[in-house]
Symmetry: C2
Subunit: 356 residues, 2 copies
């Protein structure tokens, strides 16, 4: 351990990332709120205010308002390379990424902080464009950027710009989704896989592609809000970013007494994305997405949820792509187009570092 | 503008930092909560919960609990070089810095997020030590680290480790300090200036110093809490980090119809710090501190506040170092030891980059 070092793969979202988090970070930070797998911490409204009441002159009873809400709190750092790519930039990503982490916890995104680490020599014009994107995406989301910080480091000590956004949202407890996942539940996705990964890769490597693939970078809240408003069938949500769909599904089944069966034929992947994947040996199941949500929904509600999602621009390609199965437990497997079945394992390292 | 670039001085906390924030960042992010000078955004409790009530089945009246509190939200990125220095490390700094930003707003620090950007090749053993410091300082503060994120970038794309912490705190409205600053008010500091700056500099440059100067890196909440509990005389608080005491005081008087007069003889500076400053041409007024708070207090309460602060280990050297004066308005000036008066201006660039 003494001379062990951090590897790129520790940031991949795969097995080494999980090892870093569970073996290194978690032992240091243990409390009732932190969870290695959740996208945001959920804090009881009553816990939050209690801290001031100890000193309050008047005795104030907990009201329904406080006990019925949870504050959601999340953070994400963005180091994507290059900082501009087809369909977005690091600024748009920094707003979408963090608000989406709140949204998949069922929380309405409200407030963002942003911390910038700038490399000496960054063009101020580029910074302007990035701030423009952030402001536009925040506006679209109805979130406010309320506090910030800027540090500058010498040329060569960072790579142009890193952005951290932390986010606060509110979740109404009657929108929590704690029902147990069980065989028969459906797996839903709101559109094509891997667009963000391929968009960033093509910009990074200057790939000459006939039709450029645009990143799917988008804010999920409005669509998720509509789903939660109309259905109580959602059991789990997650945005499949680093590590892609395969990683999220493996996290869901890990240590559980159920597995997940995907149907290759129903998994939407753009032709251009498939072509580049085949050329370069990537698998779209592991590529990053930035405007996608995977839902596990009850069998009964799944169809209704898909039709609600389809009404939204970012959900128009929504569909059921698989289901929860009793066996093999703890595994994700896939019925391939030619009729076989293969295991979709957790990857060890990322196919593409610095994707977000 | 087109080819203007970010300079190290944009991160200094001085004039160029202010220009960057007011001319570049603020025009993009305008809302009722953001303020270029505050250390944290304050969000009304009632604003926070309102977002869920729109959908609530029952009509819930705003209770005193909600309208009497404000949520404080802040963020800070830490890029200090080197990551270990006498008296602390980047982890301790990341917890103290953000909780102190909440504390000086009068808010009790409660929850922290942490976002790590790790450079490939960082020793895992070093990361362990940093996490240990973070956990210990959080424990001491009574704050919980509840959510996190880790990114890894290639060797040469960052400098070992950058940490962002965002923090949430709660402020009771009966502890707000909005009373106008006016001539006669006193300026208070809780101890010696420049220790952090010199500690980091000496570690960075391997200065051979007789008595090593330790960083003052410490959490201010408990001392501030005691002051606010016993006195309503506080009109302003700020931690003089980047840019030091001179920068904070210049921000206070900027555009106001009052100035501040400091008494050089009463400003506490360690002998070793003074010696190094004289040798290298630094001014302790501009050096960074990480466990200091500047208070502006009413003339009537100032003595009492100092004696409350003195009871605390980090406040034992507290004292009045100056006062608010009617003229020259908008300026900070100082009565020097030899009887003259000099202007203490806002610096343009930092004396020491990457100090926090």
């Amino acid at each position: 351990m003494k001379n062990d070092t951090i590897l790129l793969a520790h940031g991949s979202g795969g097995k080494l990332s999980r090892k870093l988090i569970t073996e290194l970070f978690m032992p240091h930070f243990t409390n009732e709120y932190i969870s290695p797998l959740a996208d945001a911490a959920l804090i009881d409204g009553s816990d939050l205010w209690r801290h001031c009441e100890e000193r309050s002159d008047a005795a104030i009873s907990s009201s329904a308002v406080m006990t019925n809400k949870k504050l959601a709190f999340t953070t994400d750092s963005f180091v994507v390379k290059p900082i501009f790519f087809p369909g977005g930039d690091i600024g748009k990503l920094a707003v979408c990424g963090t608000t989406n982490d709140l949204a998949v916890m069922g929380a309405k995104p409200l407030y963002l902080s942003c911390g910038f680490v700038l490399e000496e020599g960054l063009l101020i014009d580029e910074l302007h464009r990035i701030l423009d994107s952030m402001a536009a995406e925040a506006e679209k989301n109805g979130v406010k950027i309320v506090t910030g910080d800027t540090k500058v480091v010498e040329k060569g000590s960072a790579d142009k710009i890193f952005i951290n956004t932390a986010g606060i949202g509110i979740r109404d407890n009657n929108r929590s989704f704690n029902e147990k996942i069980k065989p028969g539940d459906k797996v839903i996705i709101n559109g094509t896989l891997g667009d963000h990964g391929i968009a960033v890769l093509s910009a990074r490597e200057n790939l000459a592609i006939g039709t450029p693939v645009l990143s799917d970078c988008a804010s999920l809240w409005h669509m998720i809000d509509e789903v939660l408003e109309s259905s109580n069938g959602v059991k789990f949500m997650r945005d499949p970013t680093r590590g892609g769909l395969a990683t999220v599904l493996n996290e869901i089944v890990h240590g559980e007494n159920f597995g997940i069966l995907l149907h290759e034929d129903s998994i939407p992947v753009k032709e251009e994305v498939n072509a580049i994947c085949e050329l370069l040996g990537f698998d779209p199941l592991y590529l990053a997405n930035e405007g996608k949500v995977v839902l596990i929904a009850s069998e009964k509600e799944a169809g209704k949820i898909v039709s609600i999602m389809k009404k939204n621009e970012i959900g128009k390609d929504s569909r059921i792509i698989g289901e929860v199965a009793a066996s093999p437990a703890g595994k994700v497997f896939m019925k391939t187009g030619i009729g076989g079945t293969r295991i979709v394992d957790m990857m060890i390292a990322d196919q593409l570092p610095r994707i977000c």
